[in-house]
């Protein structure tokens, strides 16, 4: 919402400075977004062309001498080269000295030499001063324009423009008058009486209004003015409209725009001679089209409201008038409409059709119903003043009048909700100044809400009114009462795990990425997603269309982006949400990571002590287990199963399980087809850990750790090498060895895996080191012999392996 200072002062008698007004506006909730104090136009002075001669070197240029008054060039004439065809001796216009910034051409002038002749300034066109698009010649002022004085002041262009960022709850402040009312209530001046007297009319309005859709149109006022003379509106009106960014059209249209901004009352004018029969307010028919004033055709639906005449639908009610009946320079009889429209319907219609107008802006927020008729009177008054004519009597249809909402207002609510100690009478005075009508004087006062404040529904809204006018800055901060105790743990288990997983993975040399929750459809499908309920109806870009089923595609793409920038060894992780469905429960918490190139935990790239090898499945497995460990998963109870989801290399991937059902994670190198589909290249490995699938730890009554029993006897290590079938998993072999004696064997570690002719084709050798911890006595050679036999037998039974000879 834009307005000028002088316009505001039409409604507000005040001595306040521009700065005071601007500060106050912001502090009462009408946030000032921009102030244009018109400083840019200050340097331009009125100057007279003394002489004009043809440029010696150019046909279209003239060399002028200009008198710009005593303050320019010590009052001596200034030489200026000018290309305007209307430049002539005696012309009075707007002059800019070197050093002046000319907004219309975005140039700061300097002394120039044009075809060998020096030019010490510029005589400006309207376009150069951004006053209009006019650029056929320089500004040509009347002969009595005072040479040497500021042009802006002479042309009334020094009126500061204030722009307010209006919140959607305040339709009353979508008018200069409403803003003045708020400022007056805040003590910044006196509101000028805005009462509009009736303009008597003669005779009935011949065009009747039939409201067939009363649910969409709670009121409609219409009047005919015969014998008007339309044409350009007067300068003051045009200037006000231009100042706030409106384009003057003709007097009749300009009047409707003026009243829209001045009083927040949108109007519409019809050329009465183009209207056939009565006006009918009805729902549009399916498929009905209207050619609107912007010369575009709109296809309407029965959800939308139109104003039709005998020739069919004409205007889109409350949004935009129709081209067919629009007024123009030839209009002599004008119908002026001032109507009320159902706000939500206007909002929906405007949104569906994509039409943004000042009328829609106000109607969808709610215009003052009680100003429907006064608004029409005001418009009539202006039409008579500017265009002449004879008005008929106003025809009003459908309007039931305004019954004020009464809010029971416990005055103490101000203190309860804000902490402000405002005397009751002060609160009520503030409300009265804003147009509310308090009744009574007890602890609870009935307050009638004025017709222009549809946003005020309850007592909290009245508190807000008192607070903002009295001054938010007067509320002194008060500490929140302490609970009187040390705060306990404030994070949920899932939050703690998320945090720990992030720190653990970063400690492993990975960098935390935050990637988009939405990914391309093809990527989503590749990773098991792409369900219709996870597809955005209005994605911001085609490749951000589907909620991700996995963090991996985003991370792989990110790793590849880095590689494309020359950083081929990258390790990235993310701990965030994935989406299996559109319910809250279907949002998972996953820790995932990828490593590319040689970005291994223990170092990357070439090094004098040995180059890092390419990343592989075991890097991913180590990351996954580290993340699980950090999340508090029972690491010793996890089982690793060969193979994983289809996006991994089938022979170089694994699944981490807890018990037969729960899958806690997957890891592996990626399937070449996955990388191809993602436009990525390897070596690339990755993992996912399902943080929310890890069982909640059992609540324990104390934090005591289990008792530690240390054996006094020496630990002994024994090595075994087994030849097994190539398909036998090391995990099965170590499990079999460990099971030989669960009490004595405290660890089994694979220290060598070998395939070759010496162990037979199709076979491999797995060498293990078994840690044996005697607990009751030192073991004898016979004890070790027996244990070794049990180990060998158990391995043979479980895996078919034989001791390598």
């Amino acid at each position: 919402m834009k307005f000028t200072l002088s316009w505001l002062k039409d409604h507000l008698e005040t001595d306040a400075s521009l700065d005071e007004i601007v500060d106050r506006l912001t502090m009462i909730g009408l946030e000032v977004e921009a102030v244009d104090d018109k400083a840019a136009l200050k340097p331009f002075v009125i100057a007279r062309v003394l002489t004009a001669q043809k440029h010696p070197e150019a046909d279209r240029l003239q060399v002028l001498t200009v008198d710009a008054g005593p303050n320019v060039n010590g009052g001596r004439p200034v030489q200026v080269v000018c290309g305007a065809p209307n430049a002539r001796a005696g012309l009075i216009g707007a002059f800019a000295t070197p050093g002046t910034y000319v907004p219309g051409i975005d140039v700061t002038l300097s002394v120039g030499k044009i075809r060998g002749v020096e030019s010490h300034g510029m005589m400006c066109s309207e376009r150069e001063l951004q006053l209009s698009d006019e650029h056929t010649g320089i500004i040509d002022l009347p002969a009595d324009a005072p040479v040497g004085t500021p042009f802006a002041a002479y042309a009334h262009l020094d009126d500061p423009v204030i722009e307010i960022n209006l919140t959607p709850n305040r339709p009353d402040a979508a008018s200069v008058y409403g803003i003045a009312r708020d400022l007056a209530a805040a003590g910044l001046g006196r509101l000028v009486n805005g009462h509009v007297g009736a303009v008597p009319g003669t005779g009935e309005t011949p065009v009747k209004v039939v409201i067939e859709a009363p649910e969409l149109c709670p009121g409609f006022a219409l009047r005919l003015v015969r014998g008007v003379k339309n044409g350009p509106s007067p300068k003051w009106l045009q200037q006000r409209l231009i100042a706030i960014g409106q384009r003057p059209i003709n007097a009749l249209v300009d009047i409707t725009n003026y009243v829209t901004f001045d009083r927040g009352r949108p109007l519409h004018v019809y050329d009465a001679k183009k209207v056939a029969g009565d006006l009918v307010v009805r729902r549009a028919r399916d498929g009905e089209t209207v050619l609107a004033l912007n010369e575009r055709e709109y296809a309407l639906t029965p959800d939308m409201c139109v104003i039709a005449d005998a020739n069919g639908a004409d205007s889109i009610a409350g949004v935009m008038g129709g081209e067919r009946t629009g007024s123009d320079e030839g209009t002599t009889d004008v119908l002026i409409e001032s109507a009320l429209w159902e706000p939500l319907n206007i909002a929906r219609t405007g949104r569906t059709l994509g039409i943004v107008t000042d009328a829609r802006y106000r109607f969808e927020r709610g215009v003052d119903p009680e100003f429907m008729v006064p608004g029409l009177e005001l418009a009539t008054k202006l039409v008579l003043e500017l265009c002449g004519g004879e008005p008929t009597r106003i025809e009003v249809a459908g309007y039931a009048g305004y019954t004020p909402r009464i809010v029971a207002f416990p005055v103490a609510e101000v203190k309860r909700l804000t902490g402000l100690d405002v005397p009751a009478q002060t609160s009520l005075d503030i409300l009265s100044r804003l147009g509310f009508t308090p009744k009574g004087s007890g602890a609870t006062v009935d307050v009638a809400v004025p017709s222009w404040r549809p946003d005020v529904e309850g007592k909290a809204d009245l508190v807000e009114e008192v607070m903002r006018i009295h001054g938010v800055e007067k509320i002194a901060p008060q500490p929140l009462p302490s609970f009187g105790a040390v705060n306990g743990r404030i994070l949920t288990t899932l939050q703690v795990r998320t945090r720990n997983a992030k720190r653990a993975l970063a400690v492993r040399g990975m960098m935390e990425a935050v990637t988009w929750s939405f990914i391309p459809e093809a990527h989503a499908k590749l990773f098991g997603g792409g369900q219709p309920e996870l597809k955005l109806a209005n994605p911001i870009a085609a490749d951000m269309s589907d909620m991700r089923p996995s963090l991996l595609p985003g991370l792989i793409a990110a790793a590849q982006r880095n590689a494309d920038r020359g950083f081929s060894d990258v390790a990235l992780f993310e701990v965030s949400g994935t989406y299996e469905g559109d319910t809250p429960e279907a949002q998972r918490r996953v820790a995932a990571g990828v490593r590319r190139g040689t970005a291994r935990a223990d170092g990357q790239g070439r090094h004098w002590a040995g180059n890092a090898a390419a990343v592989g499945v075991f890097d991913a497995k180590a990351d996954a287990l580290a993340a699980l460990e950090a999340c508090g998963a029972p690491v010793d109870k996890l089982t690793i199963e060969a193979g994983g989801p289809a996006w991994y290399h089938p022979g170089r991937s694994g699944t981490i399980r807890l018990g037969p059902k729960a899958v806690l994670g997957t890891f592996g190198e990626f399937h070449p087809k996955t990388l191809e589909a993602l436009d990525a290249s390897g070596p690339l490995c990755g993992f996912e850990v399902f943080v929310d699938a890890i069982p909640e730890p059992k609540a324990k009554p104390t934090r005591t750790k289990p008792r530690l029993d240390l054996s006094p006897f020496q630990q002994v290590k024994r090595d075994f090498a087994f030849v097994v079938d190539r398909a036998v998993e090391a995990g099965a072999l170590t499990r079999a060895a460990a099971a030989a004696d669960r009490k004595l064997i405290t660890g089994v570690r694979v220290f060598d895996v070998f395939e070759g002719a010496s162990v037979g084709s199709g076979n491999k050798s797995i060498a293990i080191e078994v840690a044996i911890q005697p607990v009751e006595r030192t073991l004898t050679d016979e004890d070790f012999e027996a244990l070794a036999t049990r180990i060998v037998d158990n391995v043979a039974k479980q895996t078919g392996g034989t001791l390598r000879s």
Partner: protein, 362 residues
């Protein structure tokens, strides 16, 4: 010269010339071994008369002791020489670079770090951390937050919608703010409520300061007395603690959010005269930093609370935005690009844990 003197001279010369352990041992055996020259002479003592023994005994034993000492000393000398030689041979170029520890290389994203900083501050004020889903219903994101259906305020949100499912319900959407968790919290627990809610939020918007995905921090306090004065205190304490400055000047000005009444926006005084840097507590600029207000009575009702019994306040601010202000990242879009150069520069070391006792940032 006696025969013993001659022997001593010979042995001492042999010891001195022994070049290694083996040569020393050979000398030792030749002198002190079973059949060694000194051992042989010691054996002769038994056959001597007491008088002879009185002079020969100390002479031979003295020789034995001196040779033994000489052997030990020479051994030590040789070991030192050997160690010196080994050490010289083992010399390395210590200026060669070592491998960087993974913990030095790893980084925590600024969003995670700042979220931890926020948790540290609000934990101290008695708040808990709540969360909610990204995919929301129209009810939680709008209706229950007092956005009437079709109200223009909904349009301020540039919502991402999912396709309608044909169940007659409004389509699901990506939450446009973390405020739906206000309702979910009220449904799940009774006052007093003090929670903050960090999380992802989504709007159809993209430029240097807007991203279609961003992070918000919601705060909610509900009890029987919480008012605007308390809210001002909480928010100014937070800003001081978060930006790690002794003072902040904040300007609360009335504004509008459908789910608050009264609603306010908060500007923070700052100095932006240095490029790329914002200083708080000084300067003449006002920068908008958050929106807040008393929880609207309708929202309390939707959350199952009686607005005449309970009251409270809420606020929302951009986590990415306050991270940018504190740490000086110029462009929000880079937060989501995973460029390792950016992460390495703006990210945090994994063991930089924000705490109040040790300072939020180091």
């Amino acid at each position: 010269m006696s025969e013993l003197d001659t022997l001593e001279k010979t042995l001492m010369a042999e010891i001195a010339s022994a070049g290694d352990e083996a040569a020393i041992e050979a000398v030792r055996v030749s002198a002190l071994g079973k059949k060694g020259s000194i051992s042989e002479r010691l054996k002769t003592l038994g056959a001597m008369s007491p008088e002879e023994r009185q002079t020969a005994g100390p002479a031979i034993n003295g020789l034995k002791n001196r040779v033994t000492e000489a052997l030990t000393a020479r051994r030590a000398e040789l070991r030192d020489v050997a160690i010196q030689a080994r050490l010289a041979a083992e010399r390395l170029d210590v200026t060669l670079p070592v491998r960087q520890a993974p913990a030095e290389r790893g980084r925590i994203h600024p969003i995670s770090q700042v979220t931890d900083e926020i948790a540290a501050i609000f934990g101290d004020l008695g708040f808990s951390i709540a969360e909610g889903p990204d995919i929301e219903t129209d009810h939680y994101n709008f209706t229950a937050l007092n956005f009437p259906e079709g109200h223009p305020a909904r349009e301020m949100h540039d919502t991402f919608f999912f396709n309608p499912k044909g169940d007659g319900l409004p389509p699901r959407l990506l939450r446009t703010h973390t405020s739906p968790v206000q309702i979910r919290t009220m449904e799940a627990q009774k006052p007093p409520i003090r929670i903050v809610i960090p999380g992802k939020t989504y709007r159809q918007d993209s430029d240097a300061t807007h991203s279609p995905m961003f992070h918000q921090l919601e705060g909610l306090v509900i009890d029987r007395t919480a008012n605007v004065a308390n809210m001002k205190w909480v928010l100014s304490e937070f800003c001081k603690a978060f930006f790690e400055v002794p003072n902040v000047n904040m300007r609360f000005r009335p504004s509008f959010f459908p789910f608050t009444g009264p609603g306010l926006e908060v500007d923070i005084q700052c100095d932006r005269s240095r490029p790329g840097e914002v200083r708080f507590g000084e300067g003449s600029d006002w920068m908008e930093i958050l929106g807040c207000g008393m929880v609207h009575p309708n929202v309390l009702r939707f959350g199952g609370l009686d607005p005449d019994e309970y009251q409270g306040f809420a606020w929302g601010m951009g986590i990415d935005r306050i991270a940018m202000l504190k740490y000086g990242m110029p462009d929000l879009r880079a937060f989501f690009d995973a460029d390792v150069r950016w992460l390495s520069h703006y990210g945090f070391r994994p063991l930089d844990l924000p705490t109040l006792f040790g300072g939020l940032s180091s």
